[in-house]
């Protein structure tokens, strides 16, 4: 009875087009934003900030990127981690080689590098579809990682391509503590998520979905499949690139090309499957789920088995649960957690009545 739309009429198209059309949703959203921007940095401990919240934000961004490509535009990609790598190494090199390069600009440039590479590896999508395209993205994944290791220029001639990211300084203000790194990540992710949400409900987003659903029909109404698909690759890779840069600058501090491997690409794919393919909010839910699951498993095993838990058992259990969950979600709720959330809200509208 609290979650009712009664009395809320949309009197203009402008109102109908808002992201949150129900007032309760809007209020809830601002509350959540306030919580994450103000309350969390003040009260959360270091562990939560460093090991949970920051990576969840970063992976959400990468998941949004993959969602744009695979969820909205329908082009399956198994190479998201490689684009993250391009963003990370791109930003690093811009910061390194150009004096006085502002951090935000470096991140954007890193993202643009990733976008450029994304367009190149997206060209095959004009002629091939489905899992053939997935194999092409595998080519991107392996080639990019190999190139970043083999050409020492990328890692400033360090061994095996390891780079240590520079300090983040914006307008003389150093972002060195976990709270500050969390906040800068939050700010960047929030802005980019908003832009993504706008994109997907605009003409661009509709063109993507049209190409996903039936590209012949899309062409007949004047949508150019080539441009649309390459746009999707570019935007998606940009997002993954920025996520990769943040991965290096605000999360790990030290990264290497091998760290952006196929396993990571699969992880991101799992995030969007579990979170909800084709949903911006689903990207956040999926990322949170995948990051929290191993931690949760660890805690659960410690409390049930007590004492030392063999690492191999934990690792195997993780594999089994990940794999099982993917299959479970694909069978039971292919639209993922986002859909479950929506169903929950629907029920909430009727609460306390059952139907």
């Amino acid at each position: 009875m609290f979650y009712r739309e009664a009395g809320q009429f949309k009197a203009s198209y402008e109102e109908d087009q808002q992201i949150f059309t129900i007032r309760q949703d809007r209020v809830g959203f601002y509350a959540i934003l306030a919580f994450f921007f103000l309350a969390v940095p003040a009260f959360a401990n270091q562990y939560w900030l460093q090991a949970i919240l920051t990576p969840v934000l970063i992976f959400s961004l990468a998941a949004i990127g993959l969602n744009i490509l695979t969820g909205y535009a329908g082009q399956l990609s198994l190479g998201s981690a490689a684009f993250m790598a391009v963003g990370a190494f791109g930003a690093y090199n811009f910061m390194l080689r150009i004096d006085g390069m502002p951090f935000i600009v470096a991140i954007i440039l890193g993202g643009l590098c990733a976008a450029a590479v994304g367009i190149v590896f997206g060209l095959p999508s004009l002629r091939i579809k489905g899992f053939y395209l997935a194999v092409a993205t595998l080519a991107a994944q392996f080639f990019i990682v190999w190139a970043l290791v083999k050409f020492p220029w990328f890692s400033n001639h360090s061994s095996s391509g390891v780079i240590t990211t520079q300090e983040i300084v914006i307008f003389g203000f150093a972002f060195d503590s976990p709270e500050r790194k969390y906040l800068i990540s939050l700010a960047i992710v929030a802005v980019l998520a908003l832009l993504a949400k706008n994109l997907v409900r605009s003409t661009t987003g509709r063109a993507w979905m049209a190409v996903r659903d039936m590209d012949v029909a899309a062409e007949v109404i004047g949508i150019r499949p080539m441009r649309t698909k390459l746009q999707a690759f570019a935007v998606s890779s940009f997002y993954c690139g920025v996520a990769g840069a943040l991965y290096g600058y605000t999360y790990l501090g030290t990264v290497e090309p091998e760290g952006f491997n196929l396993d990571l690409s699969f992880k991101i794919l799992f995030m969007i499957i579990i979170g909800g393919v084709g949903s911006i909010m689903g990207s956040f839910l999926g990322a949170a789920f995948i990051v929290l699951l191993p931690i949760f498993l660890n805690v659960a095993m410690h409390s049930t088995l007590g004492g030392a838990v063999p690492a191999s058992l934990a690792a195997n259990l993780e594999l089994i649960i990940f794999g099982g969950l993917i299959i479970f979600f694909l069978i039971v709720e292919p639209h993922g957690l986002a859909r479950l959330w929506q169903i929950g809200k629907e029920k909430l509208r009727l609460w306390p009545f059952p139907h």
Binding site: G74, L76, P124, R127, I128, G130, F131, Y132, A134, V135, A136, L138, A139, F142, F143, V145, W146, V149, K150, F151, V216, L262, F266, L269, F270, I273, S312, L313, A315, N316, L317, E318, L319, I320, I321, F322, G323, G324, L325, I326, I327, L330, I331, P334
Partner: protein, 308 residues
């Protein structure tokens, strides 16, 4: 010149290994239209199960370690395990996803990969194991003596096994009643059902055969490289093989495997030094990519025509 031949032959023979894994893919794709990304994991599972059994059987039944009996028993048990795995996969996963788009099925098999790996290691442990098939990895004497080219006995054995397998499978699909039924099922499930083909039996047979192929592939791979987790992802190389050969062609899988194996090795040896080596990790994929742009259905695959 002989160095070139050595590399070429080495490449061809490693291509045979890829082809063996690709064969499993082709079988399942032909019969159910599902692209089983988990094939590599299944090869790993097969190999690990076999090795696991060779280790525990002597203890359970007081048999002599390394004996032919243990081998045979382990093989049979591993095969049984593969069939069970296949049927379970079909019942629990694939049947529930029958009407979903192919992408969904594909993603489910990615999940399956992780699941199978986890189960395999959970049961048998994650240590790297050796697998001894009793065939030495040493050069064949007379070739070495006459032409001074290194050709390993083991590789030739693997190639012959693969050859026999391919020929029998090709014959099976072409000439037997079950083979024809399989092809019908691959084409159109509903139609096959409506002419009375028992889908469940067919799928059981397919997964059984695919399991057998996976086991053979697993034994040979495991012998070559040891049975370890990495096996799952080495099997990814089978994907470019399939693209070259066509997803539905048994001879295509072999030909594709040979091409990928040889070009990969040759590229590594002859182009590699100019760029620092390690080309093998991506060369087959780029090659496959090129193929996709020029001939998307592969050398022997079927052309897909979209009706507007």
């Amino acid at each position: 010149m002989q160095f070139f031949f050595e590399v070429l032959i080495g490449g061809l023979l490693s291509g045979v290994l890829y082809a063996l894994v690709a064969l499993g893919f082709v079988l399942i794709y032909k019969a159910s239209g599902v692209f089983n990304f988990a094939q590599g994991a299944m090869v790993f599972f097969a190999a690990l199960t076999f090795v696991g059994f060779t280790e525990v059987l002597p203890a359970w039944f007081g048999l002599e370690e390394g004996s032919k009996l243990v081998f045979a028993l382990a093989f049979v048990l591993a095969l049984a395990a593969m069939v069970v795995l296949g049927i379970a996969t079909e019942k629990i996963v694939l049947r529930r996803l029958v009407n979903q788009p192919h992408i969904t099925l594909f993603m489910a098999t990615i999940g399956l990969t992780y699941l199978v790996e986890g189960i395999a290691q959970g049961i048998w442990g994650a240590n790297v194991r050796g697998l001894d098939l009793g065939i030495a990895d040493e050069p064949i004497g007379w070739i070495m003596d006459s032409a001074n080219i290194l050709v390993s006995k083991f590789d030739v054995f693997a190639a012959s096994v693969a050859g026999v397998l391919v020929v029998s499978l090709a014959l099976f699909f072409q000439f037997t009643r079950v083979g024809r039924a399989l092809r019908a099922v691959a084409d159109d499930h509903q139609a096959a059902l409506s002419i009375g083909i028992p889908l469940q039996h067919i799928w059981a047979i397919v997964w059984g055969v695919a399991g057998f192929v996976a086991l053979v592939a697993g034994l040979i791979w495991g012998s070559r490289n040891g049975v370890q987790f990495a096996l799952t992802f080495t099997a990814l190389k089978a994907l470019p093989v399939l693209i070259l050969g066509g997803f539905t062609s048994v001879p295509g899988a072999i030909l594709g495997g040979l091409i990928i194996g040889s070009t990969e090795k040759l590229a590594e040896v002859y182009i590699g030094p100019f760029v620092g080596g390690g080309i093998e990790s991506w060369f087959p994929y780029i090659l496959a990519l090129g193929f996709l742009l020029v001939r998307p259905e592969g050398l022997f695959g079927e052309r897909h025509i979209d009706r507007v």
